[in-house]
Point group: C2
Chain length 96, copies 2
């Protein structure tokens, strides 16, 4: 699935409600899911881990849609590898 396809799927499913709620409220939902992801990583429950990664990603792309961002445009930042040291793999000294 392309990033565009996933963003469109989430848009078709959630845009109206998320847009009505607005960026602030939607960001709160997003951060709830980030917390649930932390729990899932800590517990190591594989099925739940996949679910929470999906939820965080879904809320992230919904936030992108309601703020007018196309994720496929955003990720071009990483198209050539690390955008800071310009290498693959990254050898930035400040990312330890």
């Amino acid at each position: 699935m392309t990033i565009d396809e996933f963003q469109k799927l989430i848009q078709d499913t959630y845009f109206e409600r998320d847009n009505d709620r607005g960026a602030g409220g939607t960001f709160m939902w997003f951060t709830e899911e980030v917390g649930e992801l932390a729990t899932a990583i800590r517990r190591g429950d594989r099925e739940n881990l996949l679910e929470e990664f999906a939820d965080v990603f879904a809320w992230l792309v919904s936030l992108a849609s309601i703020t007018g961002v196309r994720m496929e445009d955003a990720v071009r930042k990483y198209a050539e590898g690390c955008p800071y040291c310009k290498k693959i793999p990254c050898d930035c000294s400040n990312k330890v």
Copy 2:
């Protein structure tokens, strides 16, 4: 770009360092970027907004890689629309 391709790109660029650091430390970096995304949304600076969405997504997929999750598998949760009410668009009553 597919979700797999982006995850592979980030893996090629950052996996070794992120894996050495571990999930906890990488989660901290991820949450720093979530904070920067909040700032970008608040300020409305379009160029910075795209950058921060990209950074959050990159750190999210890197977390997925180091915890053994393939994002393309995770997003199947949303393949049929809302995983809870099973509709497109969602009409769950608890997502306002």
